[in-house]
């Protein structure tokens, strides 16, 4: 799939120059295992000197056929696979998937469940943006930022571990509820994290925001205009960096996001620096949401109690009562019972809009499950933004995109 772009060819421009300056174009592959391609992305580039004249992203090195796998298992069994989409924010993926299937069943989960999901999704956003920021830091030569980001991320992983039992692959959401309720004192730990995090975030951002070295590598580099950002289907911080104030948490609130107050930061220019600024500010907004959610943390049930064909009954009931035992067996073997129909749901994930399109013919197994992954759509603009950039700027541009190949290739 070669894409042709007309670009002023400096070799042609130099036609008048002595023959020794008229060079051939060079083809170069960057990746699939290159430290700055953040995974297994391969860029096929055509270079004129140091300037790119063509850039074709080659995807698919991490393809696992997740969508097909989903057709062969019950709705709940697929939850661990959603961890492995955007593996830097598994909690947010779990939630997006669960809500999509719940929409299919027209099931409302209780307020406590919604609040837990909001807190976990925002924590996941902070953790994902920390990673994005740290990696962008490394790409532009700032090791310290990466180290500090990782220190903070580690604290978040401690919280995830307490909540779900795993640091990375959380598999926390279930259709109609969660894997388990929050442990004793967990919300207090979340609050404590938020309190200490804001000053440290300022310190980390202080290393970059007005740093001329960093700005030389990011300002006016990889500029995406508003129109282009929309035309190429960009979402998330990459879209907002170009000045489009679209945030699904605001525009199509789900899981009770309408109760929380937060701002949507947008960039003014659409360059790498704007995308960086947007991520920095979004973390602060996420902390704001988390604090509100913790402050009015609702009590009550943490799973949909009346959805008896969807969410398995509590363990002590299963052990003591025949009816619940059978119910448990049915939900596990047949899957949570869904009506026939189809649904598309998009959630505002850290990387952009993660969508699940579920087609059901009834029963506990999806007939078709399509995943719209933000990283995949965001990368579609690479052939456009990279052309005309210096090869060292490509590293910056990739860093500022903050994509994850696990989700891109899925």
């Amino acid at each position: 799939m070669a894409t042709e772009f007309a670009f002023p060819d400096s070799a042609a421009k130099a036609a008048g120059a002595p023959p020794e300056f008229q060079t051939e174009k060079m083809s170069l592959s960057m990746g699939p295992s290159h430290p700055s391609t953040h995974g297994v992305l391969r860029l096929q580039m055509e270079l004129d000197g140091e300037i790119l004249t063509k850039c074709d992203p080659v995807l698919g090195y991490l393809h696992r056929g997740d969508e097909k796998i989903a057709e062969n298992m019950t709705y709940n069994q697929f939850v661990p696979y959603t961890d492995r989409l955007d593996y830097l924010a598994p909690l947010a993926n779990n939630m997006a998937y669960a809500i999509a299937v719940e929409r299919l069943a027209k099931l409302e989960v209780p307020a406590r469940c919604q609040a837990i999901r909001v807190i976990t999704a925002e924590l996941a956003r902070v953790s994902s943006h920390l990673m994005g920021l740290g990696a962008f830091g490394i790409d532009t030569g700032a090791w310290t930022v990466f180290m500090y980001c990782f220190t903070e991320r580690e604290k978040l992983y401690k919280l995830f571990e307490e909540l779900t039992g795993a640091r990375f692959t959380t598999s926390y959401a279930r259709i109609g509820g969660l894997q388990r309720d929050v442990p004793e004192g967990w919300t207090k730990n979340v609050n404590a994290f938020c309190d200490q995090f804001l000053p440290i975030l300022d310190e980390i951002l202080g290393l970059l925001t007005r740093n001329k070295i960093f700005m030389d590598r990011s300002v006016d580099i990889g500029v995406i205009s508003k129109a282009d950002a929309i035309a190429y289907g960009l979402t998330g911080p990459n879209l907002r960096g170009s000045g489009v104030g679209l945030d699904l948490r605001k525009d199509k609130p789900y899981s009770g996001y309408e109760q929380y107050e937060f701002d949507v930061p947008v960039g003014t220019k659409g360059d790498c620096y704007d995308r960086y600024l947007v991520r920095g500010e979004e973390m602060k907004q996420s902390v704001r949401i988390i604090k509100q959610a913790v402050a009015k943390f609702p009590g009550g049930d943490w799973y949909a109690k009346d959805a008896r064909k969807i969410f398995a009954p509590p363990k002590d009931k299963i052990l003591t009562s025949m009816e619940e035992l059978i119910q448990n067996f049915m939900i596990v073997t047949e899957g949570p019972q869904m009506p026939a129909g189809e649904v598309y749901f998009e959630a505002e994930n850290p990387k952009g809009a993660l969508g699940f399109y579920v087609v059901s013919k009834g029963g506990g197994v999806p007939w078709r499950l399509k995943i719209r992954s933000p990283s995949f759509c965001n990368l579609s603009i690479l052939p456009k933004v990279c052309v005309g950039a210096l090869i060292s700027d490509v590293v910056s541009i990739l860093g500022s995109f903050d994509f994850v190949m696990g989700e891109c290739d899925r």
């Binding site: 661990p80 500090y148 039992g165 692959t169 598999s171 001329k212």
Partner: protein
Amino acid sequence: MAVIPLERKPLTFAERTYLPQIASGLWTTFKRIFQPQVTLSYPEQRPAIPPGYRGVPTLVRDPNGREKCVSCQLCEFVCPPKAIRITPGEIPADQADRAHVEKAPQAFDIDMLRCIYCGLCQEVCPEEAIFLQNQYSLSGYTREEMVNHKDKLYELGGTIPDQHYKWDQKKTAAEHGNTH
């Protein structure tokens, strides 16, 4: 509630010389020297494992040392990567008090090269017989070594408290003429 554009203020002359940022950056890193260490000297120091951690899946016995698994194969069914393989069997003849349980696993293998530590087996088990406990950082030299057989699973699992003694209750109930 608002969309807030992120303004950028132009750099001052001093900032354009790179120097203030270098100095303040050095100052930030210098301050960090005196903060507590954030790394662990693994494996000498081990991280604290919170309750409910999802480590290696294991089989457990009840406090009377009896096997809890009844070989219903629900965990085998639910396991997304198909890591569990169970061969159902009879209750051994020497365990007369458990004869009414009817089934026990003859073989129970968990392939730890396949297991993704998702915890679904523990979640669905109707007997509270399989638990993901504290072990992590598993390693081995061969593929065969990474398959945990029944003996190994019980050895790893040990005994955990039982609130229900489900089968004892059933027996008592049956003796009183109530089969459910």
